[in-house]
């Protein structure tokens, strides 16, 4: 098995060499890695921008950036984090790399379309940068609410167009994944034998297809309004700005499930492997993924309780929001029940997964505070909201991203990293996270609005503390990333299956060869059957 050439050494198509073997590749693994490095770049950039924002907020009044720059910074932070990091992070990197492997095939269904998606992603990023250097980056926030987004003098059109292009990239990825899962699964693999990460990607892809076109057309309308001035959202000409909010959230709320579902899939992979125990409630997790995808598409207006809606609508949307909490809670329950009486082996990916469960639960429960119309009226657009969605998006998807990175890194690059540094990084990140966002919950309840450049004296203490948390977080993130990146200088010596996983990607050398498998992978009757793994490991310990 050691003599097999990895995909790093075999370009596909074979006629390209050097940089072209990456830029023109149709190999899903290479495309996944190209996504990984571009996404990491954007993520670290946006992390630093967030750090600047918090540093500015540590002290009252203007500390070192002006209010205009501050507005652009939080917009840029939001746009990058949402459109260039969280939405593509898990599907585009790990989905691309591992979805075909988990279903035992050699590529996605439309390999060229896959490459096109990456180029669209890069184009979107570059267009976003361009908007920075012409007329200033928009100061609208990532939601681009009208009428401000239509009347502000900053360069909204370019940024909106960037989001439009990124939307197409994400849509095409979703289309590709659905077709791949339907048409290219190994024949022996029925629907109830698909690994949970792939299942979560399937649900995600449907949401991507369902929802993204709505935001595409909405963003196009913003551009048309700015250039032509039709007046579709302008009250003086008969338009209705609230309709913009409806259209925007019709996509953007399902989009938060695009962000979190693959993260849940990652956690569902990691927890059973390190508990050496089959996942509790496989079918319930699958069903809850689909339930979240469906119900999550029907709750958009809970972002708009204060915008003006009928009481009936508020009641219905509030109820539906509570309904979505049920499948999410089923997953949390299943993960915890899987850990119960398992033989737990602590590793960095499991540590991050456990942090995920805790942080995501806090994020989910505070989401109910916001989903209930009564309480939402008080905390709407305060720092409470900021803390809530960072708990779910960063504490959720962000941590799942890092967990996935530590879980699959040896498979992707064939190199194992230093556990100690990974633990220290993860602890700094989690500790800093709590220090950073818990004060924001309190600030929000005290009434500090979000997106404000300055604040009243009573909010000084919380903002001051949050700044320290941010610093710890940034140090932790960079420590983890650098710890992973320095392994690239080491020789490739990771084992094919360093953790004892049961899904198909562990049945091939690390890193995998061009066609993913050396011998035909064998599909287990039940994807999380650990009897074989337990036997192998207990034999090893007896022999030594």
């Amino acid at each position: 098995m050691e003599t097999v050439k990895s995909f790093f050494e075999t370009p596909s198509p074979a006629r390209f060499k050097g940089i072209w073997s990456w830029l023109l590749t149709t190999d899903h693994k290479r495309i996944g890695l190209m996504y990984l490095f571009s996404i990491l770049f954007w993520f670290l950039l946006a992390v630093l921008l967030g750090g600047v924002i918090r540093l500015e907020l540590m002290f009252q009044g203007e500390t070192f950036i002006s209010a205009e720059v501050y507005n652009s910074l939080f917009t840029l932070h939001g746009v990058i984090m949402i459109f260039l990091f969280i939405i593509p992070a898990l599907p585009a990197v790990f989905g691309n790399f591992f979805l075909p492997m988990q279903i035992g095939t050699d590529d996605v269904f439309f390999p060229k379309l896959n490459l096109l998606s990456w180029y669209l992603y890069m184009a979107g990023g570059i267009i976003a940068i361009i908007s920075l250097f012409s007329d200033g980056f928009p100061d609208t926030g990532w939601t681009f609410y009208v009428p401000f987004s239509i009347s502000t003098h900053t360069n909204v059109s370019t940024a909106v167009f960037a989001a439009f292009v990124l939307g197409i990239a994400s849509m095409l990825t979703g289309l590709n994944f659905i077709t791949t899962i339907h048409r290219m699964r190994k024949k022996q693999m029925g629907w109830m034998q698909i690994p949970l990460f792939t299942w979560s990607l399937y649900a995600t892809s449907w949401v991507q297809l369902l929802a993204t076109p709505v935001v595409s057309i909405t963003l196009l309308l913003v551009i048309i309004e700015r250039y032509v001035g039709v007046g579709l959202f302008d009250p003086s000409r008969g338009g209705d700005p609230i309709l913009y909010q409806h259209l925007f959230w019709m996509y953007s709320h399902p989009a938060v499930y695009i962000m979190i579902l693959p993260g849940m899939g990652v956690i569902s992979e990691i927890i059973p492997v390190f508990s050496r125990k089959s996942i509790f409630g496989y079918k319930a997790i699958v069903a809850s993924s689909m339930a979240i995808a469906i119900a999550g598409s029907l709750v958009w207006a809970h972002h708009m309780y204060t915008s003006g809606m009928s009481d009936t609508a508020i009641f219905v949307f509030s109820l539906l929001t509570f309904v979505v909490a049920i499948p999410s809670a089923i997953k949390v329950f299943s993960w915890v029940a899987t850990l119960y009486k398992g033989s737990i082996q602590m590793t960095p990916p499991l540590f991050l997964a456990l942090c995920f469960i805790y942080l995501f639960s806090v994020g989910g429960l505070t989401g109910l505070v916001l989903g209930a119309a009564g309480t939402d009226i008080y905390v709407h657009d305060t720092h409470f909201v900021v803390a809530h969605f960072h708990f779910t998006m960063f504490g959720g998807t962000g941590f799942a991203f890092f967990a996935a990175l530590h879980y699959w890194w040896p498979k992707m690059f064939g190199r194992m990293y230093d556990f100690k540094k990974a633990y220290i990084g993860a602890i700094l990140l989690t500790g800093g996270f709590m220090f950073h966002y818990v004060p924001m919950f309190i600030l929000g309840l005290q009434g500090m609005p979000r997106r404000y450049f300055d604040y009243l004296p009573q909010y000084a203490k919380g903002n001051f503390f949050a700044g320290f948390g941010a610093a710890f977080m940034i140090i932790g993130i960079f420590l983890m990333v650098i710890n992973l990146l320095i392994t690239l200088r080491k020789p490739m010596d990771a084992k094919a299956d360093p953790w004892g996983g049961t899904t198909l990607e562990w049945q091939t050398p690390s890193p995998p060869p061009l066609h993913n498998f050396v011998t035909e992978p064998c599909v287990l009757d039940y994807p999380y059957d650990f009897t074989g793994v337990v036997k192998k490991y207990s034999k090893n310990t007896k022999g030594e």
Partner: protein
């Protein structure tokens, strides 16, 4: 890379894509629905200003083009190359006629002072401003789709001619055809919403 040629898989991908197109226009139709409820009488007034003849002719043209494209796909499967080329060419020609028609229709409207941000619309009843705003946005977006569809039909035509599309490998032609039918179908909704609104 396994050289899989899974025709029904490709078609599945295309159907998924068509679905996103429907949602794309769906967003605009939602706007139409909401504003129609709000400004029903203005919408009816606006609809009277549109020339039904243009609309009817364009509808018939698109229906003919859809038929000939469908016939061309069947012809490819039956190895009748000449028939296929004729069908695709007719489809292309119909698309062109549609666009020319649209051009005259739009320029006539613009000449009479009805276009986004024009004084007539801005100072007139707000409902009519919305009606014509939607008219320009929706038919404009549809026009862009016609152009894309024509490009796809043209590529299929060239490939049929050069023998790259045969009765065994015709998914490109079939998917282009599907796209063309979708563009046609969207027009079938646009036509009554704007021209026949009463």
């Amino acid at each position: 890379m396994s050289s899989h040629s899974d025709e029904s898989g490709k078609k599945l991908g295309m159907w998924l894509f068509l679905y996103t197109e429907i949602i794309l226009f769906g967003g605009l139709f939602v706007l139409y629905a909401v504003y129609f409820v709000r400004y029903a009488s203005d919408f009816i007034e606006g609809g009277k200003e549109l020339n039904i003849l243009f609309g009817v002719v364009n509808t018939i043209i698109l229906l003919i083009s859809s038929f000939s494209v469908a016939a061309a796909i069947t012809a490819i499967q039956k190895k009748e190359k000449k028939m296929a080329v004729t069908g695709l060419a007719t489809g292309l020609l119909c698309g062109l006629v549609f666009l020319v028609n649209k051009y005259f229709e739009w320029s006539h409207k613009i000449d009479s002072g009805i276009f986004p941000n024009s004084e007539k619309l801005v100072d007139g009843p707000v409902g009519q401003n919305i009606f014509f705003g939607l008219y320009y946005v929706i038919t404009g977006l549809h026009g862009i789709h016609i152009i894309i569809g024509m490009a796809l039909l043209f590529i299929s035509l060239v490939f049929v001619q050069t023998g790259k599309i045969t009765h065994e490998r015709f998914s490109l032609a079939e998917n282009s055809g599907l796209y063309w039918h979708l563009v046609d179908l969207i027009w079938i909704f646009i036509f009554p919403l704007f021209y026949l609104v009463i």
